[in-house]
């Protein structure tokens, strides 16, 4: 009887494990099935490298290059802002901060992760957008830069907590050895700790970027959503995610527009898949 119970529980857990994989597979298959239908009418090259996105015109123009570049631009901007601050913060928490400050900082960063993105977007719209407009003397503050700054806030918790873990997992003897050889605290961090934790820190950065590229609500509210080819950070852009979110409600089920939105989903899926896999590779490189 006890053995039977064990057996049932083991199988149930197995089923739970398999279910998550099954769901991912089903989602992927569904995306492929719906998305590839668009290539019956538009060639993949024209879809990926077309420069104009007018999905509801006749004939529809379905070029997503401005959207891809928009997403990349916002992400790049967010990375440039969040990586140095995030890694710096992790180093401070792991190496330098007194216990009390450490606790406060960690709590604060967890709190930052808990703010819903729509709230961040709203705050950005009211405070950051007019600021960006006035500081750079732009016609409008709804720009890629505003999106980047807001998204940097969202990437930070991921980067800080994973990078901090990576620093903790460096064996104590490394640092002690460096200090015993006469290195200063900063030299030990810079020359020994950071290189030893580099794979974990890279993974942290990758996961942070993965979070940013998939973010929708905040960017939709503050980047202006104009589907132009982006030339600078100080101009409105439209991202892949915002396009899907804004247009899926309207798209007639089974129309070319509908399939095109799913194809955008595939592009997004591929991008975040690559980012996650490379993060995973970095994370396990050492072991």
């Amino acid at each position: 009887m006890r053995k039977f119970k064990e057996f049932i529980i083991a199988k149930l857990i197995l089923a739970c494990g398999l279910a998550s994989i099954l769901f991912v597979l089903l989602i992927f298959l569904f995306l492929l099935k719906e998305g590839f239908a668009v290539f019956k009418t538009v060639s993949p090259a024209k879809f990926l490298f077309g420069k104009s996105w007018y999905p509801i015109s006749e004939p529809a123009q379905l070029g997503i290059l401005p959207l891809i570049l928009g997403s990349l631009m916002v992400t790049l901007g967010a990375a440039v802002i969040s990586i140095p601050i995030g890694v710096g913060c992790a180093v401070y928490i792991a190496e330098a901060a007194p216990l009390k400050i450490k606790e406060i900082l960690k709590g604060g960063i967890e709190l930052l992760a808990a703010i819903p993105s729509v709230v961040l977007g709203f705050i950005g719209m009211i405070t950051l957008v007019p600021l960006v407009k006035n500081v750079f003397h732009l016609p409008t503050g709804l720009t890629a830069l505003s999106g980047s700054i807001m998204l940097a806030f969202m990437a930070m918790p991921t980067i800080v907590s994973i990078a901090e873990d990576a620093l903790y997992s460096v064996p104590k003897t490394y640092k002690e050895g460096a200090l015993a050889l006469g290195a200063t605290h900063w030299q030990a961090i810079y020359r020994v700790m950071l290189p030893a934790a580099s794979s974990g820190i890279l993974a942290a950065v990758m996961l942070g970027i993965g979070r940013v590229i998939g973010e929708t609500m905040a960017v939709m509210m503050i980047t202006g959503n104009a589907a132009v080819m982006p030339h600078s950070l100080l101009q409105p852009v439209r991202t892949l995610t915002a396009t899907i979110a804004a247009e899926m409600g309207e798209a007639v089920v089974g129309s070319q527009h509908y399939f095109a939105l799913f194809a955008i989903g595939i592009v997004l899926f591929v991008i975040s898949f690559v980012i996650n896999v490379s993060a995973d590779l970095f994370l396990h490189r050492k072991r």
Partner: protein, 284 residues
């Protein structure tokens, strides 16, 4: 502990089932963001008169409402544009027979920031601005500043109407498009907010959104005819050139609750609510 949890779970479950079974008197209305306040006002008054019935109104855009009507998740779709041919075909394929009812009129106001000296434009100038041919306010008598175009997202009936009637001059299949650098805003309120804080911007929305923080532009059909401001008299008389009908769509001839609601909307009382929410009643 475990028992208590199980018990409360069972309680919640049975309660949900009960409330779902009791929902026979509910009307689901979905669609145009422009009309969501109007729909809400109708629903409130209607529920006052018929307390045993319940009307739920949600927005999301005209297209969202039509999709829901087709997939059977709402009883009435509010739309600020007529259904497209492909949507009607899709509905018929699914066994849904959409029926159009005109319930109100709406003027589309073009608005700028109150600090902007420009207060009147011709349709041709509007067309030039929103297509990106006119790039600077000084070209239409304003300051030497770049124009920031604000448009709605493509899921908006207002977006489609403005494109077809201003940009394409009423030719629905025309080649004209909004300038690619037009900012696509997720809601009429977002346009109102951006116009309120940005003195270079120009946007459009349903007349009901006009507030002192934005300045409505008087519009003329051409240079010879006079400039007309967007208000209720001018929309009823047809003098204001950018106005449109608002629709309710039902699946087939409305029956039962939906019929009751529709009758109420078209009644004198219903049309007074139209006026009270800054839309324009249809002539009887």
């Amino acid at each position: 502990m475990f028992r208590a949890a199980l018990f409360s779970l069972a309680l919640i479950f049975s309660w949900t089932c009960a409330s779902m079974a009791g929902n026979k008197n509910i009307i689901q209305i979905k669609g145009s963001d422009t009309m969501v306040n109007l729909g809400q006002a109708w629903a409130e008054k209607y529920m006052e008169i018929n307390p045993q019935e319940f009307v739920a109104v949600t927005g999301g855009g005209s297209g969202t409402g039509i999709s829901s009507l087709i997939s059977g998740t709402c009883d009435i779709a509010e739309t600020s544009r007529s259904m497209k041919k492909e949507e009607i075909k899709l509905a018929e394929d699914r066994g849904v027979e959409p029926l159009e009812h005109t319930v109100a009129l709406d003027g589309i106001a073009v608005v700028v920031n109150p600090r902007n000296p420009v207060d009147k434009l011709t349709l041709e100038e509007l067309r030039g601005i929103f297509m990106g041919a006119i790039k600077n306010w000084k070209e239409v008598g304003g300051e030497d500043k770049k124009i920031v175009i604000l448009s709605r997202e493509v899921n908006s009936g207002t977006h489609v109407f403005f494109k077809e009637h201003v940009l394409r001059r009423g030719n629905e299949k025309g080649p004209e498009e909004f300038a690619p650098n037009a900012l696509l805003m997720p809601s009429s309120q977002a346009i109102a907010d951006e116009v309120a804080q940005n003195s270079n911007s120009i946007g459009y929305y349903g007349m009901g959104y006009i507030s002192p923080k934005q300045k409505p532009i008087a519009v003329a059909k051409d240079e010879k005819s006079g400039y007309v401001s967007p208000d209720i008299q001018n929309v009823i008389s047809g003098k204001y050139p950018i106005s449109r009908p608002l629709f309710l769509y039902t699946n087939g001839q409305a029956q039962g609750l939906v019929r009751n609601f529709l009758d109420f909307v078209l009644s004198k009382e219903g049309q007074e609510i139209v006026l009270a929410t800054d839309f324009v009643p249809i002539k009887k």
